[in-house]
Symmetry: C2
Subunit: 150 residues, 2 copies
């Protein structure tokens, strides 16, 4: 990548937002994720989903978060990202079902130069996923460290 | 399962904690998870990890959360769980590296009967993972709905 195209801490500004693209969720993907990481019956099996409060098979919330993360890869991999200390306010607003198409967006809420480490700053991002009906299915606020331009 | 063994909302009490078992993290698992869900260089490749601020290959934070979730399955699948509205204060305290053995514990912080839905209540849980050196690598506070005994 041309170094001039890399996003550093100084390139983020409050209010800026990035469209992240769309991830299509399949039934196989829902079941594969759940088998490995979140084997609750309503994530594994149509019949168990129908008997559950959700009325059908739904994706693990962590599968949905992972889908959002995968959509962030394009942005992160053209940034001077240095990891994240954590996230807050992870909210699952709607169930995610087989066939859903999830579109991501991330918005800059806050930028803060580090007081202790001169080489980096923290960017607070609100990241969201919307389904094909425009309903928000996931939101979370996550801090990420980015290197400063030298 | 014997219905008498199922954990309902009324079976959770503040201060109670549950040992969740141990998940061994392999290099293959780190790379497989990252390829699919979080393809940042320091999650994919030893050399890129060594050049990063982490000094080596580290697991995606979402891989670590998923490992915790997989350890919760035993507890959830003997409970009358009805999903979760969200989590807060997800914190990655230490990098997770190939060969780490992560042991989970969850502690009840709060129990609250639903005001609007008589069939359920909310349990607020602090869930944590510790590595083989006893260092905490992950913590998060998550609310979960559980059905009430009828």
């Amino acid at each position: 990548m041309n170094p001039a195209d890399v996003l550093f801490f100084e390139d983020f500004a409050v209010g800026q937002s990035f469209e992240l693209g769309t991830h299509a969720v399949t039934k196989d993907e829902i079941i594969d994720f759940a088998k490995k990481w979140d084997p609750q019956p309503f994530h594994l099996d149509d019949a168990a989903g129908e008997e559950s409060p959700f009325g059908g098979l739904i994706a693990s919330g962590w599968h949905t978060v992972s889908a959002l993360m995968s959509l962030c890869a394009g942005l992160l991999n053209r940034s001077a990202g240095m990891g994240s200390p954590g996230v807050d306010e992870v909210r699952w607003w709607q169930p995610v079902r087989p066939g859903d198409a999830l579109t991501g967006r991330t918005t800059v809420l806050e930028v803060k130069a580090s007081q202790s480490k001169a080489d980096r700053g923290t960017v607070l991002l609100l990241s969201e996923l919307f389904n094909q009906d425009g309903k928000r299915v996931l939101s979370m606020k996550g801090a990420a460290f980015f290197a400063r331009r030298r």
